[in-house]
C-alpha cells in the first residue's frame, strides 16, 4: 500500500482517544500490525524532525496527534480558557493511588495522614481514578485504581512508565 502512511496519519489525526495498533489494523486490514507500527514510528520521527507544532503522542496504549508543549501559551490564548488544574492534595492522593493500586481509602489516608474523602471523590468525578473492586477482607472495602484517562492526561504509555518511587529502604542504614 503506497498511501499507508497517509491513511494512518489521517486516522491518528481524527481519533478522539489514542488509537491502538490493533484498532488501526481492524480498519486497514491489508497491512500487518508490524507494518503499521513501523509507519507510526516513522510518522512520529518525521513530525519531530521537521519541528512541527504537532507530535505523535504514544499514550495509554495508543497514538494521538497533539500540540507540542512549547505552544502552550498560544493555545491557552487561542482557547481562552484557564486549564483545570489539580490541587496539591488531589495530586498527592492521585500519586498514592497510581503507585499503590489497587488500594483502599484507609491505606491512602494512612500514607497521607489526612482524610481523603473529598479529593478521592473529585478524582473519581474527573475519571482519573476508578473503583477497581472490593478487597477480600472482612467488610469487603472498595479498592481504587487509576483509569485509562489518567494515562492519557499524564502522557503515560502505561503504568510501568511511572518513574520509580524513591526507595525507602535507606531507612535501615
Amino acid at each position: 500500500m503506497d498511501n499507508l502512511k497517509a491513511i494512518i496519519e489521517g486516522i491518528v489525526f481524527l481519533s478522539e482517544t489514542p488509537i491502538s495498533v490493533k484498532k488501526l489494523r481492524e480498519i486497514i486490514v491489508d497491512a500487518e500490525e508490524q507494518e503499521i507500527l513501523k509507519v507510526l514510528h516513522q510518522l512520529k520521527q518525521e513530525y519531530d524532525e521537521r519541528q512541527s507544532g504537532l507530535y505523535v503522542a504514544e499514550v495509554a496504549g495508543g497514538y494521538q496527534l497533539r500540540t507540542r508543549d512549547t505552544l502552550g501559551p498560544w493555545i491557552k490564548k487561542f482557547r481562552g480558557i484557564k486549564p483545570v488544574t489539580l490541587s496539591q492534595a488531589a495530586m498527592e492522593t492521585l500519586a498514592v493511588v497510581a503507585y499503590r493500586q489497587p488500594i483502599m481509602k484507609a491505606e491512602i489516608e494512612k500514607i497521607r495522614g489526612v482524610d481523603v474523602s473529598g479529593t478521592l471523590k473529585g478524582l473519581l468525578e474527573k475519571n482519573l481514578v476508578r473503583v477497581v473492586g472490593r478487597k477480600d477482607v472482612p467488610g469487603r472495602p472498595i479498592i481504587y485504581g487509576t483509569t485509562k484517562k489518567f494515562l492519557e492526561v499524564f502522557n503515560l504509555r502505561d503504568l510501568s512508565e511511572l518513574p520509580t518511587l524513591r526507595e525507602l529502604k535507606e531507612l535501615g542504614d
Binding site: L65, T67, P83, I111
Partner: protein
C-alpha cells in the same frame, strides 16, 4: 511571632512536620523530638488563634509527638537493646509520605493534556443527550446516576442497598440462566458440590425470592423427596 500565614498550605500533619524538619535542617532519622514537638504545638496554637479549623488529624499527631517525647524521657535499660527507637515509626511514615509528595510533584511536571499539550476537541452536536463512550465509564458514574434518581424521590421507600442484596441478585441471575437452558433443575443440583455455607444460604434465599416473585415453581412429589424447579412461565 515569626510565622507567616503559611498554615493553609500544609497538606496535613505530615506535611507540617516535614516542613519543620526542613526548616530546622534536621536529620529525619534522628529527630530532636522535644524541639519539633514544641514547634509543632506552636503552629497548632497559631492556627487556633487565627480561628482556622484545625483538623482532627493535626491533634492526633500532636498526641503522638507528646507520646514519643515521654517515651524518650524514660531511662533506657541495657537489656532492651532490641527495642525500637520510639521515633522510628514516625520517621518511616514521614519518609513514605515524602516519597509520594515527590511523586506528586513529578507527575505535575509531565506534559499534562489540556494544560501543556492539547488534542483536538470534537463537537458532539450530532450526539443527543451527552452520550458517553461505554468503555470509558466507571462504575462510579453508575452509582452517581442511581444516587441522582434516588435523591429526586421520597427516599423512605428505599432500603439501603448492601452487598448481601447484590449477592442475592447474582444468585438469582445464575439460577434463572440455568433454568432457561436446562428447563428443570433439582434443588440438590443447584446446590451442587457447594461446601461454602454462605453460598448454600444464598442459593436457598434466591429460590425463596424467585418463588415469591412468581418467576419459578418448585415441586416435590413426596415429603423429603426431590425438589424440582421449573420456570413459572415458559419462554
Amino acid at each position: 511571632m515569626g510565622y507567616e500565614i503559611k498554615l493553609d498550605i500544609f497538606e496535613g500533619p505530615l506535611d507540617l512536620l516535614l516542613y519543620l524538619i526542613k526548616k530546622n535542617e534536621i536529620d529525619i532519622y534522628n529527630i530532636p523530638i522535644a524541639i519539633i514537638t514544641e514547634q509543632y504545638l506552636e503552629y497548632i496554637d497559631v492556627m487556633k488563634s487565627l480561628n482556622l479549623d484545625v483538623a482532627g488529624e493535626y491533634l492526633v499527631m500532636a498526641a503522638t509527638l507528646i507520646h514519643i517525647k515521654s517515651k524518650m524521657l524514660l531511662p533506657v535499660h541495657d537489656d532492651t537493646e532490641d527495642e525500637e527507637d520510639p521515633r522510628e515509626a514516625l520517621a518511616r511514615q514521614l519518609l513514605e509520605y515524602q516519597a509520594f509528595k515527590e511523586a506528586a510533584l513529578n507527575l505535575d511536571t509531565r506534559d499534562i493534556l489540556g494544560r501543556d499539550v492539547f488534542k483536538r476537541e470534537y463537537d458532539h452536536e450530532d450526539e443527543v443527550d451527552n452520550e458517553r463512550i461505554l468503555d470509558e465509564m466507571s462504575v462510579f458514574e453508575l452509582v452517581e446516576a442511581f444516587r441522582t434518581i434516588i435523591a429526586s424521590i421520597k427516599s423512605d421507600e428505599f432500603i439501603e442497598i448492601d452487598i448481601e442484596r447484590m449477592s442475592l441478585s447474582d444468585k438469582i441471575n445464575e439460577i434463572m440462566e440455568r433454568l432457561t437452558i436446562e428447563k428443570v433443575v433439582t434443588f440438590s443440583e443447584l446446590l451442587g458440590p457447594l461446601n461454602d455455607k454462605i453460598q448454600i444460604i444464598y442459593t436457598f434465599l434466591a429460590l425463596l425470592e424467585l418463588v415469591k416473585l412468581r418467576l419459578i415453581e418448585a415441586y416435590q412429589s413426596e415429603p423429603f423427596g426431590t425438589i424440582r424447579i421449573f420456570l413459572a412461565v415458559k419462554q
